[in-house]
Structure formats: structure tokens, C-alpha cells
Subunit: 259 residues, 2 copies
């Protein structure tokens, strides 16, 4: 039987709030067995860019990562956020090791090709290096990945943290029984957006279609759920969506996504 | 017989100059055997602080690391500089992994106690975690350390890169035949500061005393050489000072420090 591995992604709502982050990291430190944390950067990068007078460039409502934005992201995601999370986990006796996708050649990507929009230094993932990740896990280290990958030619690339989490889970599934957790601000996928407790307990491909037809799945949730089904199709064993309480074994209210 | 391990420290003069950095990284990538890179941050941190309107605080001519300065250092050393060096080494087929002292609990330190001067978030090193470093080296990874340590209670600390390099070399000396290289802007310790080629080929404790008496060792070199002798006294096998050419096996002009 394969050993269990948890891959947990946290977003801006956790990172930007010191109290929430501390609660999450305490829950994370109490989990048993090997685990990997993936974090985005949230508003801190935008705040730093603003302080530096760097304007966020948007094209059709989507963010463009130019040279200056990439520098800001590298400083905030790879430096400030990542190293502070690692130091905090160390204080909770978790032997965390903070990484970008360039470190140990963990996540190789290519710059998204120009089509209608040139997204700039944005990376689409090619491969996850399970050798590096296994080396770290076997050494009882807990990898903490920020949302940066690299192209193997010296270029760092901004990459969606949800995608990084699901590709790591996929990449590690030949070696572990993997559970992928997406932590966000809600307790799960909600039937009624105004009712925090109206959590859909389980979504499978057929109920997903139904929820889409009924308009329950809103635009913001769509890529997250597509990501979940992509992971399941590629041999990830379990996928869950919920808030930071989800990784507490006493919590039962969250959404599981199944094949 | 122990395997050889090289620990190489580069400073601001290399990091701030893309051409020099690229030359150095090419030399570094051509070295054989296990190696560890340690880098400071140089003027990039000061430049970012200036752009953010953060004033460098000095006390008796020495820099004070307050909360804001530590954030800048964490972003620049741990993020921008470290991740770009790692991405560049990956492009040269070196499986680099970028770390702070918090990562893998590699370098534990304590906040320097207030005496006449409160240096702020500056760390003096307590222990180097050879278990983590051996795990990485055994996994054929090449650790790249920035000048940050942690106190084990969640606090990152600014720590001198020369000291980090020598403490890592000391910590790894039970397992390896260690050579510690300090790369700086000169070809070595110079007899005549106006003559770039007047390199003192060897310094031992008795010639060191003589050079001090003669005023050849200037104030800037004093802590560097004290660091070298401290390393040698603590079982580091070889210590060298020179420019980035030093790690090229064809270069013979640099200073070796011996017991």
C-alpha cells in the first residue's frame, strides 16, 4: 500500500491575514505524514508594486507579467512570503524547506506562447521533478512551494498556484496515495452563495454538470473545479475544497470532488 | 578518505554585475564534486529600500536591521537574488536549490543581544544543520544559501554571508574535506593595494602577524582574515581568498590561508 501524501494549496485570503495564516500553519503542523504546501502571493505583490510605482498591466481583464512585475513577484512570493512561512513552520517543529519551481529543478515550465494576448513571463507547466521532491520527503523535509516556475534556460516564470498544486499532486501520484486540498475563503462549494453553511458535500462529473447548468458553479469556481477534475483524471486519489479548517481531522464540512 | 566539498562565498561585486555573475556561475558550474554557494545581497537591497523610501539606519557607522530593512533583505536576498542565481545555475545544468538558514532548519541563530548598539534583526549563528545539508548533497543538489538565518521561534535574521560560509564549512568538516573560498573584487590579499598582481600567495598565523604589524592588512580585510583563521581552527581543511577566477583550476594567483 502506498503511503499517504497531502498537497495543500493556500491562497491570498490566508496569506494576507496573519491570524488566519497562523491558524492554518498550526493546523498544518498537526497533520501527520508527509505533506507539501503551495502558496500564492495575494495582494502583497500588488501592494509592493504600487509602492514602487509599477502599474499592474491588464489585458482583457487579465494580468500581464512584465519584467518589473516578475521581479516584484520573485521578491514577494519567493522571498518575503515563502521565507516567513518557512520560519513560522520551523517554530512549530515542522522542518519546512521553501522552494520555487527552479529549486531542485522541481517544476519546469515554458513561457505561455503569444496568441491574442501576450501574458509576459507566465509559465505553463511541463514537468514536475518527482526525484527532487522524493529526496526532500525522504529526508523528512516539508516542501513549501511558491507560485514560481522556470524554463530551464534561466528564466523564472509566474505560474498559477492552483495549477502548481495539482501538477505536484499528479507528479507524486505514482509514489503516494495523494490528497489535494484547495483552501480558500469558503467552507466549500456553496449551493447558496449567501449561506456559508450550504456546502455541497460531494461533486462528481455528473453532479458537476448539473451544478453548472443550474448556475451554482460561478465563474470564479470554474477554473478551480476544472483543476480538480484534471487532477483526478491524472491519478490524484482525493481532492477537497474548503477553508483552513479542512485539514483539521475534526472538520467534516468541506467539498470532496470525486471521479 | 573523505570526499571533497567546496564552499564558495560571493559578495556584492559579483552579484551586482550581471556579466561578472554569469562568468562566476559558469566557472562554478564547471567545478567537479559537491559544492555549496553562499551569497550576500549587495547594493540591490539598499536600492530597493531607497525606492521604498526606507532610510538605512546607521549607528556608529554600522547598519541597523529594523523590521522594514529585514523585509527588504528577505525580498532581495531570499527572493530576487537567490531565485535568479538558482534559475541561472539550472540553465548551466547544475541542480541548484536556493535556501535561507530557515529552510530545512539549516542555520539556527540568535538575535544579537543589545549592548551599546542594538543591531536589530541581526543573527549570530548557533548551529549548522549538517543533516539537512547532507540530505541535499546526497540527493545531488547544490545548495545556494542567502544571508538569512532564523531563531527557531519564527524570526528571520540578517546574518553576515562570510560568517555563514565559514560556519557551513565548519559544520560540514566532520563529513568532508572542506575548502572554503572567499571570492571578492581582488585577486587575493595584496602587498600593495595599487598593484592588482601583488598577491600574497600564502598567509599563516606568523606571516599574518607580520602583515598586520606592517599595515598590509587593512581594516576591511581584518574580519575576512579573522573568519579564515576561525574556520581553520575549527577543522576546515583549506581556505582561499581571491576573485571569481579562483575556482577555475587553471588559476594560480590567489591567497591561501593556512594554519
Amino acid at each position: 500500500m502506498k503511503q499517504k501524501l497531502a498537497i495543500i494549496k493556500i491562497g491570498g485570503n490566508v496569506i494576507e491575514n496573519q491570524e488566519e495564516l497562523d491558524k492554518f500553519l498550526t493546523n498544518f503542523s498537526k497533520m501527520s505524514g508527509p505533506r507539501i504546501l503551495v502558496h500564492g502571493g495575494g495582494k502583497l505583490a500588488t501592494q509592493l508594486a504600487t509602492r514602487l510605482g509599477i502599474k499592474s498591466k491588464l489585458m482583457n481583464g487579465r494580468r500581464i507579467t512584465d519584467v518589473e512585475s516578475l521581479e516584484v513577484i520573485t521578491m514577494v512570493y519567493g522571498g518575503l512570503t515563502n521565507k516567513n512561512i518557512v520560519a513560522k513552520l520551523q517554530s512549530k517543529n515542522i522542518n519546512a524547506i521553501g522552494l520555487s519551481g527552479a529549486d531542485g529543478n522541481s517544476i519546469a515550465a515554458h513561457k505561455r506562447p503569444k496568441k491574442e494576448i501576450d501574458f509576459g513571463f507566465v509559465g505553463d507547466i511541463d514537468t514536475v521533478n518527482s526525484t527532487t521532491i522524493n529526496t526532500l520527503l525522504n529526508g523528512n523535509l516539508v516542501p513549501v512551494y511558491c507560485a514560481l516556475t522556470h524554463d530551464g534556460s534561466g528564466q523564472l516564470l509566474n505560474t498559477n498556484a492552483d495549477t502548481i498544486a495539482s501538477e505536484i499532486a499528479i507528479g507524486m501520484s505514482p509514489y503516494f496515495e495523494t490528497t489535494l486540498y484547495f483552501c480558500f475563503e469558503k467552507k466549500g462549494v456553496l449551493m447558496d452563495i449567501t449561506d456559508e453553511n450550504s456546502v455541497v458535500k460531494n461533486i462528481n462529473p455528473s453532479t458537476y454538470k448539473k451544478l453548472l447548468d443550474e448556475g451554482v458553479i460561478t465563474e470564479g469556481m470554474l477554473p478551480k473545479l476544472e483543476n480538480c477534475f484534471h487532477a483526478l483524471k491524472n491519478d490524484v486519489d482525493n481532492v477537497c475544497i474548503g477553508d483552513i479548517g479542512m485539514i483539521d481531522p475534526n472538520t467534516t464540512l468541506f467539498t470532496t470532488i470525486t471521479k
